[in-house]
Chain length 357, copies 5
Amino acid sequence: MSESVKKRSSKAGLPPGTIVHIGEQRTAEVKITVVDYDETHFQEKELRVVEECFPYKETPTVTWINVEGIHDIEVLEKIGSYFGLHPLVMEDISNTDQRPKIEDYGNYIYVVLKMLYYNRKNSHDRVVPEQISLILGKNFVLSFQEGIKGDVFDSVRERIRNDKGRIRKMGPDYLAYTLIDAVVDSYFLILERLGERIEELEEILVTNPATESLRDIHILKRDMIVLRRSIWPLREVVGSLERGESALIKEVTTIYLRDVYDHAIQVIDSIETYRDTLSGMLDIYLSSTSNRLNEVVKVLTIISTIFIPLTFIVGVYGMNFRYMPELSHPLGYPMVWIFMIGILAGMILYFKKKKWI
Amino acid sequence: MSESVKKRSSKAGLPPGTIVHIGEQRTAEVKITVVDYDETHFQEKELRVVEECFPYKETPTVTWINVEGIHDIEVLEKIGSYFGLHPLVMEDISNTDQRPKIEDYGNYIYVVLKMLYYNRKNSHDRVVPEQISLILGKNFVLSFQEGIKGDVFDSVRERIRNDKGRIRKMGPDYLAYTLIDAVVDSYFLILERLGERIEELEEILVTNPATESLRDIHILKRDMIVLRRSIWPLREVVGSLERGESALIKEVTTIYLRDVYDHAIQVIDSIETYRDTLSGMLDIYLSSTSNRLNEVVKVLTIISTIFIPLTFIVGVYGMNFRYMPELSHPLGYPMVWIFMIGILAGMILYFKKKKWI
Amino acid sequence: MSESVKKRSSKAGLPPGTIVHIGEQRTAEVKITVVDYDETHFQEKELRVVEECFPYKETPTVTWINVEGIHDIEVLEKIGSYFGLHPLVMEDISNTDQRPKIEDYGNYIYVVLKMLYYNRKNSHDRVVPEQISLILGKNFVLSFQEGIKGDVFDSVRERIRNDKGRIRKMGPDYLAYTLIDAVVDSYFLILERLGERIEELEEILVTNPATESLRDIHILKRDMIVLRRSIWPLREVVGSLERGESALIKEVTTIYLRDVYDHAIQVIDSIETYRDTLSGMLDIYLSSTSNRLNEVVKVLTIISTIFIPLTFIVGVYGMNFRYMPELSHPLGYPMVWIFMIGILAGMILYFKKKKWI
Amino acid sequence: MSESVKKRSSKAGLPPGTIVHIGEQRTAEVKITVVDYDETHFQEKELRVVEECFPYKETPTVTWINVEGIHDIEVLEKIGSYFGLHPLVMEDISNTDQRPKIEDYGNYIYVVLKMLYYNRKNSHDRVVPEQISLILGKNFVLSFQEGIKGDVFDSVRERIRNDKGRIRKMGPDYLAYTLIDAVVDSYFLILERLGERIEELEEILVTNPATESLRDIHILKRDMIVLRRSIWPLREVVGSLERGESALIKEVTTIYLRDVYDHAIQVIDSIETYRDTLSGMLDIYLSSTSNRLNEVVKVLTIISTIFIPLTFIVGVYGMNFRYMPELSHPLGYPMVWIFMIGILAGMILYFKKKKWI
Amino acid sequence: MSESVKKRSSKAGLPPGTIVHIGEQRTAEVKITVVDYDETHFQEKELRVVEECFPYKETPTVTWINVEGIHDIEVLEKIGSYFGLHPLVMEDISNTDQRPKIEDYGNYIYVVLKMLYYNRKNSHDRVVPEQISLILGKNFVLSFQEGIKGDVFDSVRERIRNDKGRIRKMGPDYLAYTLIDAVVDSYFLILERLGERIEELEEILVTNPATESLRDIHILKRDMIVLRRSIWPLREVVGSLERGESALIKEVTTIYLRDVYDHAIQVIDSIETYRDTLSGMLDIYLSSTSNRLNEVVKVLTIISTIFIPLTFIVGVYGMNFRYMPELSHPLGYPMVWIFMIGILAGMILYFKKKKWI
């Protein structure tokens, strides 16, 4: 979190609509791909210059322009001005610390989503959010991201290419739905991995709780916070799309959006369950710590309670008084042993009764 | 949870409406039974092929088709296309990780419920949810499930067969209500059993708290989470049916649905009470742990406080100084004993005053 | 709680509207009393057979029929069918595990309330809820209960009999209000007693906290849960009556219902305050436990820290080395005592500085 | 709390509208003062008999009648019947356990407020609420209270008398606003004092936490509960007045009421902040308790760990075996000392490394 | 908090609309600057007397009057009466303990914001809020503050001066937006610094937790409370502006306000995340305390358990009985050593098995 806050603060004082890239730059170059299709026609190509995509805006076919690498301000500005996007939208696309949100500008809808993936940080796998921006226009969809490893959009591209399902028969709103659905589906992969880590940790807690367990619980808890922040507002985004207030969303697509909405609720449900589980694990950890203390103190008490009185007794007969009748008694030594063994037996019975041993 | 998440994630990337069975396969074969009735007429039969049920769709009588075994994609597809169900509905029927929900598709209503039963897992009885899907059409009800042990729908079948109550005089909406009511009624059985386990555990906590008690509390707590997730959304489902927004639900049935709604609230109330009780039990457990520590440390302190000073005294007279007048005094030894017994008595009085013994 | 759940579960599978008594049977026989009155006229009698009350239905005077003993299904069925009550209402009257609720059936309103009283259980006084059902019709009020010890309705009967207040001038809605008011007023008696027990317990916690205190706190906490469950929904019941949506409630009565509503809020407020107080008491209990541990360990540490070093010193001079110059020194023994007393004084100063003694 | 509950319960069974004084009687006699004014005219007098105030009802000037001593039922009844107040209103005025509330009876508005002041109870200063009732009519304001020490209404009286501010130019609604404002302003005095006590306690917690600190935290916490209960509903009361739904509140006054509303929110905000602070202080207290335990145990461990092994060594050479070569060695004694000092040094280094000393 | 409460309480009893400065006076003199501009024209000057700003009110150009130093009542009164501001607004401007709020007076809108900065207090850096009041009129914006170090409005002034962005082309509503935006942007700087301190503290907690860590956590927690109180209501303020209910806010500006709204939500999100993190850190701190106790007790137990039995053994052979056969046995001494080493080895194995060493 603090990373985006840090970068964000560097923007303070600039006029609104100033496009400044906030986030990590991952790809050296900007990669722009265009997919253009209708029921009968399909074309896919990678552009060398951004201007190549402009003619697609006016065609009646569905056009999907995917921009990887949002750090290149110049490219963003060209696209923004050609497609008539509001400067604030362009600003938000390049600031990767937006919450998921939806904004309806009349002739286009702007949607911000969060893609989640795992990243190694300080020798721990942490969940890291990645911003994806979608622009749904009359017959085009623009998508912006900073190059994700293992692109979730590949399966969508594949489906268009091979005319699988109904995607080629539907409009750009269905394409936007498909992209959102791909992102939401990918959350289940993250949840699966988190679920596995929680189960592993639970196993460890029961068999051999250690100080690192506490740290691991807290790392998982913070991952949960990242997830919640990324996914909770999504519910509202999809719900708002589903209600179909925009003319850009056709009636037939809203049923599909309701399906995505259900999935989002399911993901949120799972996160809440995991959070509850982690809280329970914290209880178990703390209670096992105090059980270990109990056990240690019990050992100390048993040993002390047995041997301190015995040590006193042998101390008594180590005294150097001239007149101690027991000392010269021929059975004195064996009697003391018998006495001490009696005390020992009594102690053991006492501890047995108390269920300490 | 993580099981369904795991399976769910394997679906990522497929086009929507692709029917993939997610869940456990329990029955080898699909079993389809048809019950067809009106006030005067009754017919019940088990089908060998799915096509046999198609003619019933058009009859004016109420038809109830129950499908056990939702892993057979082909059967589901045939039914779905014949009864004109949306592909997303068919997808949801076979994915058993849906939340309880209701979807109104105009000429039919799709309802997802959760049946709950007990299952042995890692030597513990755990609450496991089982998905039941209902389709309420103009004159038919379809129900889908993956074969539950001890079918809750048997009593409904019995009632139709023997013309008990008003079920034969009413339409398919009343049948749908009866099926939902049967599911909700079965929750009381689960609650009864959970209540018994909680009472047992409470008994143990008071008499003999052990480390497993904590584990048992947490298993019950997680069962509560499963219950809540299964039943909480149900309230909204039944509430939505009761409000009677669909033409498929007749006025007269809404009173009965209000009754189910009340039962659902009652179940939720009981769950909340159990959750509060479990939290209280956790407090008692933790506090009994710290009380045991107190007791152990008290024993240690009493023994040490009595014998450490006495050991010091006998140590004094074990010193080998040449000139120690007490040693050669004829009453030295008895005097030391009297002195030590005096200290002992003082200590005991002190502990009595402190209410330690 | 689990008792009602247990009985409830035995009903699973029966058709709706089947009247089954769920709850404890307390009275051997059913007792039906009729009070019939208007401004000038008053009649009160106890019926031998249920049919005797039927003629009162049609008279223009206000009729109040009170049924004690809801375990007699036959009687309930006769009343239900004569007064035209819905089968689900009759079912709810005999199931004593309903939540407080209100249902408007057009020509009558059905209200469920919870009477609370104290009952001895496992040598503890526990709060037990008792269900009271009211039916408010055009010119009659029916009330159903399973015979409460110390009937709260006696004062109402008295008021009608003696024409106290305005009750004889008002209609059946005012009578229903009076009955609800009597129930709500009785809650203050329960709260008073709970308040006293909380104060007693608080006193004990400060002077002499024991393990039973924790148990008592938890018993009170569970009583609070029972109270909340019984009273919380009441607020909505009375609020719904007050809003005067039904023609059966006259304008003039709503002001009185608002008064009951205020009382219900006051009761809920007190319950919340008690809950907060009990949470605070739990904190005090746990902290006093850990303070006692601190004290015990402090005693152990003081004794050990003083005598263990001294025991070491006397041990040194108990060694049997042939060449130990101190042993043969004439002042050796007194010097050791002086040295040890010096150490003792130093220790005491140290503990004083640490504020341990 | 329990005090008002106790008295309240004594009212159970009486018909509604029966005026019974519930609360503490503080003044021996009832004191009624009338202030009558408009822009040009001002009259103030103390009445001997209640009937003297009746003529003021009809005058066009603004009349403020303040009644101190609400335990005199007869006086209340006379005022109630002359000013046409509903019996339930009169009942609520004399029951001092009402929550702050507002009731609009058409030709007058009834407002209940809570005045807060400090009272010594069990050697602790506790916040005690005092009920103030206001009746706002067409050209009069009635205020009822049980005689507060240091009347907050004095400043209002002063302002009318000296024609300060706009009060003489405005109507009775502005007067009612001024009285409410005086009450809300007085909350800041209570908050100030609570704030000081919290700061003092915080100081003590850091320098020298004691068992009483815990008790003090809990007393403050319960004061906070009293404050919340008194002030939280006020927000709604003022909000409802501000919305100006009644014809008795003029447009121009609503701006002033919005100001009071803001103040009420501010007070609630401060209470919430104090509550958070107190929770934090509880954490610090509990953690300091456990830190002290840590310190005590550390001292015990250091002393024991150093001297128990040394005591063992000297014990070895206290043994009386005939053949122990070390004993007769001329350097035996000094060698043992050197060995023991070596062990001591090692221990100290170990503890230093562990940062225990 | 308590500081503003304290000052606030000194105002009790004064008539509403009395302007009293509540807050810290920081600047000796009042500094009034005027910026007057439209698309072609720009004028900036510092005023010597407040009356100089009056002519700007009527010009068609946008006028921004910034007043630093709100302790000068006279100046405020002059501005208030000339610009026709309500006395309550003037009162609120000089009371610096307002919550962020918005009030629409028809021909002008009054907005209260909180500027946050760091201040050294008791050797800790604490977040301190500073009140900023904005008045948006038909063609002017007034801003009031008590002189902030490092003015956040400088960048806005710069932008107007140099005609950067669209500010010169837009009206006073856009200017008001820009000022609010500048304040919200500055929150990110505070968040950045808090984030850094939290990370530092987290580092310390893991490596070397100390008692001060707890204190630092609580100081940060209280800073969070200050932030929440300052920023949470802001959301509603901006949301209310954005909804564009006032004619003073033009359609085109609402899109920019939505952007500020998003930023406010982002800040609130970050605060919630930080709060969660701090709670987690408290858990880690408390658990590390109890882990340290465990470790200390373990050392004590190991040393005691090894040496107490050995000391008993050497005590046995220190007894002075006349008939002890072992003492005169030539191998007695070495046998005892072998026996004791055996015990030692057994103990070490036992502790190894228990994973204590």
